[in-house]
């Protein structure tokens, strides 16, 4: 646990990628393979086990410290991180150096995974015993493991770089080996590093290639930056969930972009993948469609959050897989081949273009479709198509260079997102709450409102978009204009007007205002405006598409 704790704090203490890679390499080189496998699972950000609820932890910590519950809550509101709060308020361990240092794998097994299913009295006994053994800096890490909330600021790319370095193999090869479920044990970790190991796992997906947002979105700039339009393939940017469908041997597996196996959540897609020839890997988008119409993203997201799709859900939120790319064909890795070639082969494997299905114009009734190409003779034509995006329920266009390989991660230059410009409205900050991590203790999470019948009603929660200096300034104003406090939330006198951007608006019964905005964020602080100048709920409702 000490070695992993040191790794955590070393990663936390630096912003240099070189230093992060060095920290990872040092840890993996020294750690026993069982611990390393465990650590890799944690660092990959896979779904973690929540062995104990945070409510129980707070309660037991209050008991262990003798402090009233409200004081522990007050501390939490100030610190902004429960794991850290509890680590700091608990009494110092009696003799931490005397306690044996257990390896990460053993700690996970005995004090975290082992707690699942046991009764509260036993959990409490284990937790309070661990508290007596660990120093505050170890406790923070352990609390995060215990509550399933450990996040480390390292990307998969950095982990792959460190492990590739350690194994003495190519980084792309390591990235591929790392795909799918992390190694479960010491032997699995050893295989990961072994020279000449092949990607024999029949379920393993490829690392996703991610597009970057264009720096300049005006059509003349796009033309200038990307050159001849005939070198590019344009597709709609579907508002669904990116996924990979892997068909090899007897297996069909469906992987989310977060590399979670989602077979059980989307059984109809897995079934649709079975007829594909073995040795096929498709990259595409999961979309929810009913009666020839796209369903809102929220419904897809809700469905995906369930581990197992019920019959009811299958009927209410039926899904399709719209294929973008072919990564493997006949067992051969195609990723280095140009997009144009991959696309041609893809067309021979999956059904008709998805748009034909949407318009009912095709006899295709399956669940696998081709992402249609948006044809245009010029950037101006494409720009005109892009302007139709919102009406079509898509987020804009994807631009992919026809000669491009399928790269790893977010390497810039060949794949671009040309998203439609966001919708915007000026809204007033009504509530504020302290942030977490770097923004702990600063009021950086805002609830904003619009005018409706002479009063301000809340319409969105938004976080980002202000500079650090602006956040500090807003924090001061929030404190000075607080009318009421409800735990960590402050109700403020309306004084701050923010320009709010969002991707879409839809009617909602779950929101008091009757509307839900998608992906709201603050783009700038309108210091030039008074709350009276902010927008109205009616303005917002006018932005709802006619059929939405």
């Amino acid at each position: 646990m000490k070695a992993f704790t040191d790794l955590y704090w070393r990663l936390d203490g630096t912003t240099s990628t070189t230093e992060k890679v060095a920290a990872l390499r040092d840890y993996f080189a020294a750690a026993p393979h069982a611990d390393a496998a465990c650590a890799l699972g944690v660092l990959s950000g896979g779904r973690q086990v929540r062995a104990v609820s945070t409510g129980q932890l707070r309660e037991w910590a209050a008991e262990a410290t003798g402090f009233p519950g409200w004081l522990v809550e007050e501390c939490y509101a100030h610190v902004g991180d429960l794991a850290e709060t509890l680590a700091l308020v608990l009494p110092e361990p009696a003799a931490p150096e005397a306690a044996a240092d257990l390896g990460l794998a053993e700690v996970m097994q005995t004090t975290i995974r082992g707690l699942r299913g046991s009764d509260d009295a036993h959990k409490r006994q284990v937790v309070t015993a661990v508290w007596k053994r660990l120093e505050p800096r170890e406790r923070i890490v352990w609390h995060k493991l215990l509550t399933g909330g450990l996040r480390v600021g390292v990307s998969r790319t950095l982990v792959a770089r460190a492990l590739a370095d350690l194994a003495g193999i190519d980084q792309a090869e390591m990235a591929h080996r790392l795909m799918g479920a992390p190694p479960a044990d010491a032997a699995g970790f050893a295989r990961l590093l072994a020279a000449g190991a092949d990607a024999a796992d029949s379920r393993r997906p490829y690392p996703f290639f991610l597009a970057s947002a264009l720096d300049r979105t005006a059509v003349e700039h796009v033309a200038e930056d990307l050159g001849d339009v005939s070198a590019w393939q344009a597709e709609w940017k579907w508002d669904g969930m990116r996924a990979q469908l892997v068909r090899r041997g007897v297996d069909v597996t469906l992987w989310s972009r977060g590399e979670e196996l989602v077979n059980d959540a989307f059984p109809e897609i897995v079934a649709a993948g079975r007829p594909l020839p073995s040795g096929t890997v498709l990259d595409g988008e999961l979309l929810a469609v009913r009666d020839g119409r796209l369903l809102p993203f929220a419904m897809l997201s809700k469905r995906a959050s369930r581990k197992q799709a019920t019959k009811k859900v299958l009927g209410e939120v039926p899904c399709v897989f719209v294929a973008y790319d072919l990564l493997e064909h006949g067992g051969t890795d195609l990723r280095e081949r140009p997009l144009a070639d991959r696309r041609r082969l893809l067309g021979s494997l999956v059904g008709g273009p998805f748009t034909d299905f949407l318009h009912g114009g095709s006899a295709t009734t399956g669940r696998l479709f081709l992402s249609p190409v948006v044809r245009a003779g010029s950037w101006a034509d494409l720009s005109a198509h892009r302007a139709e995006s919102r009406g079509r329920g898509v987020e804009g266009l994807m631009l992919k260079r026809l000669a491009s390989p399928y790269a790893v991660g977010r390497s810039r230059g060949d794949w671009w997102k040309w998203k439609v410009e966001p919708l915007e409205i000026d809204a007033v900050i009504l509530y504020a709450q302290a942030g977490h991590g770097r923004r702990a203790g600063l009021h950086s999470d805002y609830t904003l409102g619009l005018w409706h019948e002479g009063a301000l009603v809340t319409v969105a929660k938004a976080y980002s978009g202000l500079t650090d200096a602006e956040i500090v300034e807003v924090d001061r104003i929030v404190r000075a204009t607080t009318l009421e406090r409800h735990g960590p939330v402050r109700i403020c006198r309306p004084t701050l007007v923010m320009q709010l951007a969002f991707e879409g608006v839809s009617l909602s019964t779950r929101h008091k205002s009757g509307v839900a905005v998608r992906f709201p964020r603050i783009v700038r602080w309108r210091r030039d405006k008074e709350p009276a100048d902010a927008g109205t709920l009616a303005d917002l409702k006018r932005m709802i598409p006619a059929d939405g």
């Binding site: 936390d12 203490g13 410290t65 004081l71 100030h78 700091l88 977490h436 770097r438 203790g441 404190r479």
Partner: protein, 362 residues
Amino acid sequence: MQAIPSAGDLLRVTESGLYCERGDFYVDPWRRVPRAIITHAHADHARAGCDRYLCAAEGKLVLRARIGGAAPIDTLRRGERVSLNGVAVSLHPAGHLLGSAQVRIEHGGTTWVVTGDYKLHHDPTCAAFEPVRCDVFVTESTFGLPVYRWQSPAAIAAEINAWWRANRDAGRTSVILAYALGKAQRLAALVDPSIGPIVAHGAVMKIVEAYRASGVRLPPIDRVPPRARRVGNGRALVIAPPSVLGSSWLKLFGESSVAMASGWMTLRGVRRRRGFERGFAVSDHADFPGLLTAIEATGARRVLATHGFSDALSRYLRETRGLDASVLATRFAGEAAPDAAAAEDDGVGDDERAGDEREADA
């Protein structure tokens, strides 16, 4: 719960600060007043421009260095009593920095003690905090939450020494940021001078000289010479006020590791937000257990908490100790923090108090 002022209170908060009407004097006023008793020389407690000052004898040189001018500064030796219009006043060490004092005020059988800022941990550069029995205890509560619990000075020293030694061995200069008044001198006295040379920013040196002239023993400290190149050859510990952060002054030292010394460094979020590579949680304020110990030692039945987490501390005292505890509202509450910026400028303010003002609640 009683608030100030209530009938018969010896002290009350006015627009100019904490005022004793009977004795006609202020304690740490924030405006110009005829007579000011100063608990210590940090900018948020000692304002220039008063007609007459009273402070602890050890703090006179430091106070003069801060406020300048020629206004008379009267002093009291530890525990020495003076009568101001029939009110008995004496000063008792607060352990915050050189010459920091608690003010004991007695009249008509009632005793008040105003702490200013204080700490209980050992500090070789100033006299140790002295518990004083009283009826009403006006205590600071900058770090009045149980997440604030300092390590022992020896443990902190070991941590700083290890960081300095590792930097020295790697040929990197160690830069530690601390307020020029108090913290900087305490750090100089705390670290192991055998590791390498100690050098300091001019703002720190000005106070170092006042400390030495007041009889405080400090290890050899060199002033950073202007435009010196590669000062200390990567071996030195540089003590500088936080205001140098982001300035070209830091470039004097070539490759360096920059750490901040402040009680707020306890929290990872604060350290990350302010972008320090390293933070040492070393404070000249009392931590939560220290506040409780100090309060208990006074025997006071009534406690008024000011600065920082005064709400939480007073509620805790009411509920668990049965004390008549409440918040003493000061001008800092709920306001923006103009002084925080000013304090950073000349490096002699109390940066921890800048944090306090950020945390202050109406």
